[in-house]
Symmetry: C2
Subunit: 364 residues, 2 copies
């Protein structure tokens, strides 16, 4: 047995945690850049943060122009604002896009990189300290060291990472999700499900990432079939906890084939990230079952599902009508996926033919 | 659901991890104080560390005079040596005693405290950065923010803590335990068992501490009955992993009644710490079963044991002949335990009569 483990983020979980423990933000600095999207004002999270900062006597500047699947230009804009405002810490607030943008801004604010070197890796262990507050239950970004950005040169999404990109603090409060639109609830839950499952299917899985992943799946199991119904406050809390566990999973294992393939659906068709994963997850797990992967059985067992068919049915019930994507485009995506770095991290690395089969069957 | 989670230690687990990843020590400083006991030279850990430091071009000073259940005087000696040598980081190497001493030294080297204030709490978040290398599988100290020292004023052992007492790095290699004497193997495994069980019986248990605890118990279950037989290298690894998980448990939950009571056995009778816990654990769990605690059932289930009797039998088979302790001394210990802070953290807080019953039955 050989593995490494690291997840240094302090997690504060529970109703009104920002209000009750906002004093912890004091340890991060004097002046915050709050990084968020345009809709952040509606769920109450921004108000809670602003009140906590005011109570702490901390300044802040608001950068609320993060768009879904943030591009480098958006990050540059945030960096410029952080520097102009003299921000010495960053608060990421929202779904995966604002949190990922916040991590990239916190990093590029202290490490210069030319545009064509953004995705070249080798980041030093330095970033402005961060607190993250998720307002969806899916990305898990609050407990990972990854920022996933749109990579136009490669026509996909690509992660950048360094240890310093782990947020110092994560505040998790399910109340911010109480009025989340159903589509966002489903898509982000599919993202969490994908993190847990892909983490278990990763060559870099560890005993601890598997422990988190299986617990995440066990928690998701009874809620997934009810995602399109009314969800209680407890359901929201459990979805958020499962999403955090799935984030802690991929913080160790990374994501694998499904994310690697899904990025093309998002880049070329604008399909929501979590939905893109959900669309491809069923056929990917089916392949792993066919290849006899013990991990695939463990995933099904944790979800209390009998086989890959049951898993695919569950996903279909959540996904509804699938997008119409021409066969040649799907084959193009399969071809692009062959050399994708996430796919190479899969315990079973699908062949070119198998990747094509997954794409075609997922949209059959 | 409301909880906090923090465990910032980077864990490097596996055969020859110090040799292969010793370069990580470079990030801690220029000059180490190695804190260990007299026997550390025998298991190869000290040599591995010295070679890693030499390869890194780092200086070090050896403090190898840590005694079991370290007292404040021992810590003072280490602090003096650290200051005289200009050490800017600390390596704790050995069982719980050297690791706990290392934490206290790393803290008191940067925070002045009079002797009568050592146990007064309120430590600031500052300590010399640390790497820990356990050479027993039981204490879990490598992943906790606690240092437990002998407290002569209170005639017990007492913990001191601060967030900065979490080691930055923990190197876990089961090879250091291959020739551990059977008695030490049993006693330290009982300590790990106690951490996992007590963590689940704590008012401060969290979803994550329970996740770690149950996994630790599941791993210990098949090995415990074989502890007095020959153990394979794999068994050693799994004991070490289970011990680390149990440490991660109490890093969240703290220890509870068993540790609180056991410290008196160690202080007044010199009974090994892990053994002291093992002696009291069975009757404590029996009480929790009688009180209908769901957590007690979960502990038994994770261990694949039918009831408290089966648990007590397992412990007795490992403990062998129990110490002769006069009834009045046991009652004295029970009386002292009533106001112990660990006992007050138990979900079910035993009454004075119940504490007396636990002590008396444990030595019947």
């Amino acid at each position: 047995m050989k593995f490494a483990y690291a997840m240094p983020t302090k997690v504060i979980f529970g109703r009104d945690c920002v209000k009750e423990q906002g004093a912890l933000l004091r340890t991060l600095g004097d002046s915050a850049l709050i990084v968020t999207g345009r809709s952040s004002a509606h769920n109450g999270a921004l108000r809670d943060v602003e009140e906590a900062l005011a109570a702490n006597g901390q300044d802040y500047t608001l950068f609320d122009r993060v768009t879904p699947n943030p591009a480098v230009a958006c990050v540059r804009e945030g960096v410029q604002l952080a520097k102009a405002a003299g921000a010495d810490f960053v608060i990421g607030l929202g779904g995966g896009s604002p949190m990922d943008a916040a991590k990239a801004i916190a990093t590029l604010a202290v490490q210069e990189r030319a545009d064509d070197e953004i995705f070249a890796g080798g980041y030093e262990d330095r970033a402005l300290p961060m607190a993250h507050i998720p307002t969806t239950a899916g990305t898990g970004s609050e407990v990972t060291p990854y920022a996933i950005l749109t990579n136009d040169a490669m026509q996909t999404k690509t992660s950048i990472t360094s240890y310093a990109m782990f947020p110092r603090l994560a505040f998790l409060d399910g109340k911010y999700m109480l009025f989340l639109p159903q589509e966002s609830t489903v898509n982000t839950a599919l993202d969490a499900l994908s993190h847990a499952a892909e983490g278990m299917l990763s060559r870099n899985a560890t005993p601890l990432s598997d422990l988190y992943a299986e617990e995440s799946l066990r928690i998701l199991a009874p809620i997934l079939p009810r995602l399109r119904g009314a969800l209680s406050a407890d359901d929201r809390d459990m979805l958020l906890y499962a999403s955090c566990l799935a984030g802690m999973t991929i913080a160790q294992s990374g994501t694998t084939a499904v994310h690697g393939m899904g990025y093309y659906l998002t880049y070329f068709y604008g399909i929501d990230h979590g939905r893109a994963n959900g669309l491809l997850l069923g056929e990917t797990l089916r392949l792993c079952c066919e290849k006899g992967l013990a991990q695939a059985d463990r995933i099904l067992r944790a979800l209390h599902l009998a086989d890959a068919d049951a898993f695919c049915s569950l996903l279909s019930s959540l996904l509804g009508r699938r997008e119409d994507i021409p066969r040649e485009r799907l084959l193009d995506f399969a071809g692009r996926s062959v050399s994708n770095k996430n796919i190479k991290k899969s315990i079973y690395e699908p062949t070119a033919e198998e990747l094509a089969r997954i794409f075609l069957r997922s949209f059959a």
